[in-house]
Amino acid sequence: MTTVATTVATQKEREVRALLRDLNDDYAVCLDDMELARWPDFFEEEADYRVVSRENHEQGLELSALSCTGRAMLLDRVAALESTTVYEPRAIRHLVGCVTLDALEGELCRARANFALYESLSDREPHLLMVGRYLDVVSLAGERPLFRQRWCVYDNYRIRTSLIIPV
């Protein structure tokens, strides 16, 4: 893929970047609205979704706090959250920004964004749950863009109590 120099972006690159901003916003709204059943629809069939610590990512260690290889595992995560997982009621807000297009080749692009997740539990003050970067590979071939890869690399050294709603 050719690297995108953002200051001298072509018309096409600017269009893709706008598309990615919309994709990120729609993704965040879907999760914040707790419409978990729609979440797997943001991914391709063979998608690689991971929530991984910066510590593991930078050392090249394979372990993720949460990983879904393929759409089946994304659907399973949703199914478990809806029927077996025991957790305190909460609201999550994703704040996503600094969406950048790193490389573009044909109908495939490599992109990044920053995320911050705020969590409000049933009877306490809101707190910052997690902060980090999305490292994405997005397919632009279909009617709407889909994640082929979404690695959520969190900067937190440790996860606060538990990570329930996907990042």
């Binding site: 394979e62 993720s64 990983s67 595992m73 399973d76 025991v86 996860i159 109590t161 990570l163």
Partner: protein
């Protein structure tokens, strides 16, 4: 300071009634400090890491013994040293990176320099500058090294102790537990590091130990385990306190035949969801790599759990941070000759445990609710009578013997 964070002026008395645990043990800061002295800095051994994390001479990683930070480092002779991560000069943390490679250790503050065994090699201006300053002539470098702990290893695991009086690691762990640990660290297989998960829990560390010594909850709370038959109240199970209740073995049996069977046990479970299905069944269909269809959760007090859930192998270090905060540091591992399918399986099944685990979430959420209630009602009593009031080995999940035996040991150690 909240009322719950205040220490009681007079030592409280343990309730006389059998099979009861008082809630004040979870919120008293003075008691917490004493626990660290008795258990973590006493005549015990603490798990600090795996040899495969520091493979080469000069490899190091940071770890803890209780609340104290330590450095595990392999020296030029291949020996593993465990050193307090505290400069002998002014107490600055010497090592600031979680893992890495070093020729020696230099404190960033005044550049005191130590070799990989912790010996003080040199310090700037030992003899002063331009004839002024410098250390007194009788300053003895050999008396100012990094504090070095006793170290023992077994099957790729590394342990440290502050105590010269502690027995050997083998004697400390005891034969029954040792056999269970050796099973998941076979002597003929080299370990492969898969990665870390770190989690902060807003609860007292003993609540976490109890949770992982409580098979009664596992068959109820963990709907995911129950539904897929990974842990069933009607399959063979052993709950074995060892070394006078200090350690605890939980061993369950997985059987594909009975995994989805309906009977009088499942009828009592509201968490059993026969209609719940997942699409990727490899998550819940382990390969029987140790040839005994067993899953284990071993508590080696005061520092660690060893767990094998299906093909997910992990060491869970329990790091008490305060009377109401505990950090869990999970190290997942496999073996060097794992084929790609087994590597993928271990990663997939890692989704069962940890801060985002299908089963792990349930525990952390419950423990986060337990701590505030313990703090608000310190005189309240917990009932641990399931399976009787004794502290022996039981062959059922429907038992709290591992919690009772732990508190028999705890009271004797703490003089409560």
């Amino acid at each position: 300071m909240t009322p719950a964070a205040q220490s009681s002026a007079a030592p409280r008395a343990w309730p006389e009634e059998a099979a009861r645990v008082p809630a004040w043990i979870y919120s008293d800061p003075a008691l917490f400090e004493r626990e660290l002295e008795v258990f973590h800095h006493g005549a015990t051994w603490s798990y600090v890491g795996l040899e495969c994390e520091i493979p080469e001479p000069g490899s190091y990683k940071r770890s803890w013994v209780g609340r104290r930070p330590v450095i595990l480092v392999r020296d030029k002779d291949g020996e593993i040293n465990v050193l307090e991560n505290r400069c002998a000069h002014r107490g600055t943390m010497v090592c600031w990176q979680n893992r890495g490679q070093a020729k020696d250790l230099t404190c960033p503050y005044h550049h005191w320099n130590y070799d990989l065994k912790g010996n003080l090699q040199g310090l700037p201006f030992l003899r002063g500058a331009l004839g002024k300053g410098g250390m007194p002539r009788d300053f003895d470098k050999s008396a100012h090294g990094l504090r070095r702990l006793r170290v023992e290893r077994r099957g790729g695991t590394v342990w440290a102790s502050y105590s010269e009086e502690a027995p050997s690691l083998e004697a400390f762990i005891g034969p029954e537990m040792l056999a269970c640990i050796d099973r998941v660290f076979p002597a003929n297989r080299r370990l492969r590091l898969i990665g870390y998960n770190r989690q902060h829990l807003p609860c007292n560390w003993k609540l976490y130990f109890e949770n992982s010594r409580d098979p009664y909850h596992a068959g109820l709370l963990h709907s995911f385990f129950v539904t897929f038959g990974l842990l069933r109240t009607d399959t063979p199970f052993r709950a074995v306190p060892t070394e006078g209740g200090r350690h605890g073995i939980m061993a369950s049996t997985y059987s594909p035949e009975t995994a989805s069977q309906q009977n009088e046990v499942t009828q009592q479970l509201t968490s059993w969801r026969p209609d719940f299905r997942i699409q990727d069944m490899e998550l819940v269909k382990p390969v029987d790599e140790f040839g005994d269809s067993s899953m284990i959760n071993l508590s080696v007090f005061p520092s660690v759990f060893f767990q094998q859930h299906g093909n997910c192998l992990a060491v869970r270090q329990i790091l008490p941070k305060s009377q109401s905060e505990t950090e869990l540091s999970w190290t997942h591992y496999g073996f060097e000759n794992d084929d790609p399918a087994m590597q993928a399986r271990r990663l997939k099944q890692a989704n069962l445990v940890g801060p985002a685990g299908y089963v792990g979430i349930d525990d952390s959420e419950v423990l986060a609710q337990l701590q505030p209630s313990a703090e608000k009602l310190p005189e309240a009593l917990q009932v641990v009578e399931m399976g009787g009031r004794d502290t022996g080995a039981h062959e059922t999940m429907v038992s709290e013997t591992l919690i009772r035996s732990f508190y028999a040991f705890y009271r004797a150690s703490m003089g409560l």
